[in-house]
């Protein structure tokens, strides 16, 4: 086990595409860090640089106190779980698990012990002699995790490991990964574009945008105090309402802001509320309903209990501390 340090890390692909720039992250031993951001923001590139699958153009990656920039993936003491599982199709599950250990000349008895342990933890014992083709998606995912576990590496790297699973299984596996990581206490770096997955899994979140770090913090910190309008719009579901300050000039304290953010759940319906909204559409979610509307030409969404009365126009109010103000020029948080 080890800490991981990304020091001013950057990547320029041959051809000149800058995928990542100036990334600094300190990952403590045993910590679960989730890299989250929209597709194409450089998450995979970052992870692959840590894994050693992509060369490092700028900066440094340290695992423990060792600079690993020039070290082969196999010698970095990491294990990676891929999106499409990347199991060896011609090997049985057992051989898949054992392959990396065999290449490292681990004694046979030791390999057997570790495979048995991993298959017990992941409950893949019954499939050990099957080929991956004879497994369901969820089972393959477990095998892929098993392959990482048996190695007992300093760190796990996950690249969107759940995105090939159906929604229900994804939620179940998410929890399993979380429990597994708590139990093994292995430093983990996990990539996803799914903000909900990121929120539920992470000890700390790293929100990426255009190859740059927008914010690092615990899920609640990021949720409560998004560092920029981008983070505000990306984290939380339904997304935070972002309206330009000029659309609601009468709100107090918003004079210098470019955008005003307020979460749908922070808005309440009150007859004399300062924001007047025309209702455009209602989505029923069962436990609650999402009401979409318009104010001063800006779209706005609120969540209401499913038994709340509806009307074509509503007046909304909010607690003053629920307001997030973002700068006109750079979109950064203003307090």
């Amino acid at each position: 086990m080890a800490s991981i340090t990304l020091d001013n890390l950057g990547k320029v692909y041959p051809g000149g595409t800058r995928a990542v720039g100036g990334v600094n992250i300190d990952i403590a031993d045993g910590e679960f860090i989730v890299l989250v951001g929209p597709s194409g923001c450089g998450k995979s590139t970052l992870l692959r640089m840590v894994a050693g699958l992509e060369s490092i153009s700028e900066g440094e990656v340290r695992i423990g106190d060792r600079v690993v920039n020039k070290i082969e993936p196999a010698d970095r003491d990491i294990a990676m779980v891929f999106q499409n599982y990347a199991l060896y199709p011609h090997m049985s599950v057992r051989q898949n698990l054992a392959y990396g250990l065999k290449n490292r000349k681990t004694p046979k008895a030791d390999i057997e012990k570790r495979v048995a342990q991993a298959s017990e933890i992941l409950q893949i014992g019954p499939f050990l002699d099957r080929k991956p083709a004879a497994l369901s998606g969820g089972q393959r995912q477990r095998v892929a995790m098993g392959r990482a576990i048996v190695r007992e590496p300093a760190a796990f790297l996950f690249d969107e490991p759940l995105s090939n699973l159906d929604a229900k299984l994804r939620v179940a596996m998410r929890l399993e990964i979380k429990e597994l990581q708590k139990r093994l206490r292995t430093t983990s770096l996990y990539v996803t574009h799914d903000q909900l997955e990121a929120m539920t899994l992470a000890d700390r979140l790293v929100v990426l945008n255009g190859g740059q770090v927008e914010q690092i913090g615990t899920p609640l910190d990021v949720y409560r105090k998004p560092a920029s309008a981008f983070v505000a719009s990306f984290i939380g579901s339904p997304a935070m309402n972002l309206i330009s300050a000029s659309a609601v000039p009468h709100l107090p304290g918003t004079a210098h802001a470019g955008q005003i953010g307020i979460r749908p759940e922070d808005l309440t319906v009150t007859p004399d509320g300062p924001i007047a909204m025309n209702v455009l559409a209602v989505e029923e979610l069962g436990a609650q309903r999402l009401v979409h509307g318009q104010t001063g030409g800006e779209r706005i969404t609120i969540t209401l209990p499913s038994d709340a009365p509806l009307s074509d126009s509503m007046n909304l109010s909010y607690r003053p501390d629920a307001l997030h103000l973002f700068d006109k020029d750079n979109g950064k948080r203003m307090d």
Partner: protein
């Protein structure tokens, strides 16, 4: 498309049966001819039913051979053909799978050039370069040798392309997983690529074995010692016997025998062969 009309089925079967008959007729004629005596062909009509000389003809061919044509016994020629076909098939597969491996997985200087050089050889089959190739082989003293029979036919762009295509269907993530699992290039080749190309290798083997077995012009050109005659070229030599009539019954018996090894290879490897041709997913 799944059609379920009896009329169509009938038509389809009739077409297939007709096709089989057209292909099988010459084989049948050859078989029938190989069971008759030497005089049965003088009459001008070709017999359509087997005659009584089957055992006699075949045992003569397998034993002594035809003395008049200067060809060795069939056994020797079959053995030569077998060596040649196996060397060509195995050699081609070994070389092309390695070159495809290099082209797909390594970034070396002049990689593009190397690839194009391989590509260009597509336009140069033996028949086109037969005179210079003969010169080279003769200068190297490889006339009348197994090496001379097979080496000039081994380089193969087609097989290289096939393996390149196969390797390109193998997901990058699998390669990366193997890298993280500590498999170096050759280990990756042996443990991952070879097993994953198994069916393609088998399909290619069948095709190349038959290609090698059926080589005619090249062996005819470079073998002057009967010790190195191959069977396909040998049949030709038997057929133009100088001092006498061609002994068709014996020629046909040899032809029948010459067909057996390719048939055996196809039948034996049929399952893998078909899989290798139709399988696309890795």
């Amino acid at each position: 498309m799944i059609e379920n009309r009896p009329g169509l089925n009938l038509l389809a079967h009739a077409t297939l049966i007709l096709g089989v008959c057209i292909v099988a007729l010459p084989v049948w004629v050859a078989f029938v001819a190989s069971t008759h005596g030497p005089t049965d062909f003088m009459s001008g009509t070709i017999p359509m039913w087997p005659g009584p000389h089957l055992v006699e003809n075949y045992s003569q061919m397998l034993g002594a051979g035809v003395s008049t044509s200067g060809t060795p016994p069939v056994g020797t020629m079959m053995f030569n053909s077998l060596i040649m076909a196996l060397s060509i098939a195995i050699g081609k597969i070994a070389i092309s799978i390695l070159s495809a491996f290099a082209v797909v997985y390594f970034r070396f200087p002049f990689r593009g050039l190397a690839f194009w050089c391989i590509f260009v050889t597509l336009m140069l089959p033996v028949e086109v370069r037969i005179v210079p190739t003969f010169q080279v082989v003769a200068d190297l003293g490889l006339l009348n040798s197994y090496a001379g029979l097979s080496i000039p036919l081994i380089a193969s762009a087609t097989a290289t392309f096939l393996f390149r295509q196969v390797f390109l269907t193998i997901p990058d993530e699998l390669t990366e997983a193997a890298r993280i699992d500590g498999a170096g290039p050759m280990k990756f080749f042996r443990d991952i690529l070879l097993p994953l190309s198994r069916t393609n290798i088998a399909a290619l083997f069948v095709i190349l074995f038959i290609y090698g077995w059926n080589q005619y012009l090249w062996p005819l050109l470079i073998t002057t010692s009967s010790d190195y005659y191959t069977i396909v070229a040998g049949i030709k030599r038997m057929a133009d016997a100088v001092d006498g009539l061609p002994q068709w019954h014996l020629v046909m018996a040899t032809a029948m025998l010459a067909m057996l090894p390719p048939v055996a290879v196809v039948v034996g490897m049929q399952r893998l062969f078909v899989k290798g041709l139709v399988e696309t997913e890795k």
